[in-house]
Symmetry: C2
Subunit: 326 residues, 2 copies
């Protein structure tokens, strides 16, 4: 099929995304330069999305672009880092149209403005069948107060920002399930799946306050397990305390079986963090100031991995903690 | 088919590659930290390889790993930058075996030692059919002496390191062509295709000496065109001056039609650079010291893009300057 040549595609769709940053050299050189803020380290993370695996084949290409940036920004957010710039690699199958790529690039452009970042490099190649989109996001953070996974201490309270499970319900809605959800609820839940909100301000405010943090991408239960493993501690998680949005609550009321799948699905891009009890009031104040709910959902304990309990205190068994690709 | 789970794959194949660098956090966190050398900038570049596009389906997986790193290292080399660390993204199709991945990781491990770099992050996902391998390579360089594409000046001599065209002939050999090549020549030429040598030492020595530089990856003619475009100059290239290896010379003697395709094929990973004539003796001394041939192949002129001339001075026409993916 007819598609622009490689260099024309780069010049028309991608080079404009590099305009705001003189160190990107307009994508016209072999490399780009980045400088962390004075006294800080460069922070690097990478997340890829594959058509049919991470997004629907008929998904809005602008939203695909936005989500690609936001899942990467979320990794910086949960560490308390500031985003600077990104590299983009695309492997393009023969069926992909110029129109798709332009709409995808427009989505990237929207979010560049929203988050104050720029494209600085990458690679464009062809594939046989798969559409693979990969971003390396670069940011800046002071190394000493980077929010790590490995700092959780016995006695820490476990917090999560925002609400959990909206993306799971949005996914089910996109698959034609949950027909009794109202139009408003369906729209909200799809929005949470397609356009997550990396908690950049919150992450920065948690520097020096949280003992450990990560973002919820593999599933709340699995991600809490990652913190426990890296910190060599255990966790008691209260299923009844996990915060749900009003929309999710209305849907879960109808579909009780969703409550368990919700904490193993992931794609929430909220910040999961732990902090000592004496930081409770300062954390509450941060949540109020930013308008982000910060909910205590459990406690860090010694030993074991993660134990989930229902409202009566009984252990809730889970066959699988989270999402895994294979 | 049976393959290790995602987290087991990362733990067994990839996490050992992150061991040497404490700022990589053993791939156990959301991000990794990198610091450029004091007073320098961070340099970032990205190159992806797709099975069937950039490497043969039955290619040695260790060589695939090595080449993936080396094509990225070559981008740093030609800018005069020092490599530090890299992120790796892999999209894995169902047919890929654990054995392939282990051999691929072993190739990465070999070259990490050779070039003093470490894996610091990335992403592992599945694909339907394509094997997509992408590296973001991070390095350090002083911003002031970064060797850019846009600095070529009228009157500059055009140089290329090493020899050109070996990869093209290696590719033809791999496709079962050039049957009259000797075993030794065939082995040498295949080696140049599969295991290019990024010119890291040379690039650093050219800081402050070359006016412009890039690596030869799209084809000598196309890449010289990139320098001319970015520098807003033209070039006169002497086909007879393009340096060939002894093996290439023996093969070209038999296949004269290859001489033109050689300068448009690419994959050479030599440094193409320009420098004023008064730098001739210092450049010759650098070549002698490093044991790398540095050959003058033309001159930067005003206007036009690139004109190629044969030994008699007649213009040699080219339909296409270099390799393009689509």
């Amino acid at each position: 099929m007819a598609r622009r040549g490689e260099f024309q595609l780069i010049a028309e769709a991608f080079a404009p995304l590099a305009k705001g940053d003189p160190l990107a050299f307009g994508l016209g050189d072999d490399v780009a330069l980045v400088a962390p803020r004075p006294g800080e380290h460069l922070v690097a993370t990478n997340d890829a999305m594959v058509r049919g695996v991470h997004f629907f084949r008929d998904g809005d290409p602008g939203d695909v672009g936005r989500k690609l940036l936001r899942v990467n920004l979320s990794d910086l957010a949960c560490k308390g880092a500031e985003p600077l710039a990104y590299l983009l690699t695309v492997a393009l199958p023969p069926d992909l149209t110029d129109g798709w790529l332009d709409a995808f690039a427009a989505g990237l452009g929207d979010d560049q403005k929203r988050y104050g970042i720029h494209l600085i490099g990458g690679d464009t190649t062809k594939s046989e069948l798969d559409l693979v989109l990969s971003v390396t996001m670069l940011g800046s953070a002071p190394a000493e107060t980077l929010l790590r996974r490995n700092g959780a201490k016995v006695g820490d309270r476990i917090y999560v920002s925002g609400t959990i499970g909206d993306a799971r319900l949005g996914f089910l809605l996109a698959r034609g399930k949950l027909p009794e959800a109202s139009t408003e609820d369906a729209q909200f839940l799809r929005g949470r799946l397609d356009r997550p909100s990396p908690r950049l301000k919150l992450g920065r405010r948690l520097r020096g306050i949280a003992n450990s943090a990560m973002d919820v991408s593999d599933g709340l239960l699995a991600d809490l397990g990652h913190i426990c493993e890296q910190s060599q501690v255990g966790a008691e998680l209260s299923l009844a305390a996990v915060p749900f949005s009003d929309a999710a609550r209305r849907v879960i009321h109808v579909h009780e079986e969703e409550q368990k799948s919700i904490i193993t699905f992931g794609d929430d891009y909220e910040i999961l963090f732990t902090a000592p009890p004496d930081k409770g009031s300062v954390i509450a104040a941060i949540g109020d100031e930013l308008g982000v709910p910060l909910t205590v959902i459990g406690t860090i304990v010694s030993g074991g991995p993660v134990t989930v309990r229902d409202a009566s205190g009984a252990v809730v068994p889970f066959a699988q903690a989270g999402y895994t690709h294979f």
